[in-house]
């Protein structure tokens, strides 16, 4: 099947999933432009890591990679292919021998790639030269766990096709960008639905990542964010990174598969550039927000 760029996949390029791990999905840059029909953006939760993995193996950044949650993926290669692992860090072995994170590795048919449990970070990105090839839905190969669009999560024994390589892999090892330890938060659009103390609390306290966080939202627990009143908000559009506050006062940050509309007020928005830190935060880890003035001179209505 020709992909949207007119290249034809080579059917002989493929791999076999020996162990999928707890949750491994196909991800690219998602389905922007369809939110008005109720379609989530989806795509890689940590886009920085996904893009880096693709560049390392010589792919354009929109090509699909595997998003490995927690680790535990084992694949058997059935063709010559360059791979690269970015994002979360853990052991990477090829045929039992430890190999480097963040480096393009040129491998061959029959090679066994084993990714252990991640030791830091939550989501690893494994890119292949040529990218993962599967049918597109609304222009994307991403698995959307909210709406069920795109391919199912990887299963044991599954064959995955790969596209033909785009260009030569990069040489050298990626230097990991210095990790930001605070996440910026731009107040609004509904900060005025909260008591004045709420933004201060959000900016001065540690909020801990809850175990039921997923690709839809990072759920946080910490000092309660109090509303002015119990008014109902009619459903309104949500952007990626929206910090929604349900009646229990515990914030949740919208990730890739977030619903397109919601009825809880959004106290602030985490800029896309800072979402990688949230996408990589493991349950139990603290998140610190820094409240910034992102919309200087903006028209902001007051109730």
């Amino acid at each position: 099947m020709p992909d949207p760029h007119g290249r034809t996949a080579s059917p002989e390029r493929s791999l076999r999933v020996v162990q999928p791990g707890p949750l491994t999905t196909v991800q690219d840059l998602g389905r922007p432009g369809w939110a008005h029909l109720g379609v989530p953006r989806s795509g890689a939760a940590d886009q920085v890591a996904h893009r880096l993995a693709n560049r390392l193996v010589g792919n354009p950044e929109h090509v699909a990679s595997l998003e490995i949650t927690v680790g535990g993926l084992v694949v058997a290669l059935e063709c010559a292919v360059a791979i690269a692992l970015t994002g979360a860090r853990g052991s990477l072995r090829v045929n039992g021998r430890p190999r480097e994170w963040g480096t393009a590795l040129s491998l061959g048919a029959g090679d066994l790639v084993e990714i252990g449990p991640f030791e830091s970070g939550l989501r690893g990105y494994l890119a292949f030269s040529g990218g993962v090839d599967c049918p597109t839905v609304l222009g994307s190969r991403s698995t959307d766990l909210l709406s069920g669009l795109g391919p199912a999560p990887l299963g044991e024994g599954q064959e995955l096709r790969l596209g033909s390589a785009w260009g030569p892999p990069m040489e050298g090892t990626a230097t990991q960008a210095p990790a930001r330890d605070v996440v910026r938060l731009v107040p609004g659009p509904r900060a005025d639905w909260f008591r004045a103390s709420a933004l201060g609390r959000l900016g001065s306290s540690a909020y801990v990542v809850e175990a039921d966080s997923n690709r839809i939202a990072v759920r946080l627990s910490g000092p309660k964010l109090n509303r002015i009143d119990e008014a109902q908000l009619p459903s309104e559009g949500l952007v990626l990174g929206s910090v929604q506050v349900p009646p229990n006062g515990q914030p949740l940050v919208m990730l890739a598969d977030h619903p397109v509309t919601g009825g809880y007020p959004v106290i602030g928005v985490v800029p896309a550039q800072d979402l990688a830190l949230l996408a990589q935060a493991r349950p139990g880890e603290p998140i610190r927000f820094s409240v910034v003035a992102g919309a200087e001179g903006a028209t902001t209505g007051r109730r």
């Binding site: 008005h36 109720g38 953006r41 609304l138 659009p189 009619p234 309104e236 928005v269 800029p271 903006a298």
Partner: protein, 201 residues
């Protein structure tokens, strides 16, 4: 017409409108003027413009659109949904509305609904048009599975379930029309701005 533009994050604007009718008009105007946004997402009384290169300019511009009429002259197309009224909640809605089931069917067919926004699932369109005295509560216990094509009501909205899903709306009937097909052009039959009538199957 007074609308307020609120900034959202670094590159989005939320336009607040005094009513759903004004929001529909603003949405139509945003599409007519081809505002360069990655996503334009209507809500019940808001329009979100996401992925703007100059959100401040867009916010300031929209607040000057004083000539927007609450009901745009050129309204969306009317889509007819052939419906068989044999849903499990027809009788309870009849009790709620103080009508016979035949009168519920007649009332639902007599109304022209407006798709205000989509949400909940791809292709799930919130079609407004029930008058206030016919407001319908959601089910106390949502059903674990509602069949695709189920025609249902809740609050002041009616909707057609695009795919099998859990659901808490009261089901009046069903249609064989597919309102969601990811391979279709467009993939969703009931885009915001569309008008909807339910007709004899």
């Amino acid at each position: 017409m007074s609308v307020t533009a609120r900034r959202v994050g670094l590159d989005a604007v939320l336009v607040e409108c005094p009513s759903g009718a004004v929001a529909r008009a603003v949405y139509a105007e945003v599409l007519r003027r081809v505002v360069a946004a990655v996503d334009v997402v209507p809500g019940a009384t808001t329009i979100l413009l996401d992925g703007l290169s100059d959100p401040q300019a867009v916010a300031a511009d929209i607040e000057t659109w004083v000539d927007i009429e609450a009901e745009p002259i050129s309204r969306g197309p009317v889509v007819e949904i052939p419906t068989t009224y044999d849903g499990p909640d027809l009788a309870s809605v009849a009790r709620l509305w103080g009508m016979t089931t035949a009168e519920v069917v007649g009332t639902h067919r007599s109304l022209t609904f407006d798709v205000d926004f989509c949400g909940f699932a791809p292709g799930f369109a919130y079609c407004s048009g029930l008058p206030e005295h016919l407001r319908v509560p959601r089910l106390q216990r949502p059903r674990p599975r509602v069949e695709p094509g189920s025609v249902a009501v809740a609050d002041l909205y009616t909707a057609v379930y695009p795919m099998a899903s859990p659901g808490g709306w009261q089901i009046l009937g069903r249609t064989s029309v597919s309102v969601w097909d990811p391979r279709g052009e467009p993939p969703g039959l009931l885009a915001p701005g569309t008008r909807v009538r339910f007709v004899d199957a």
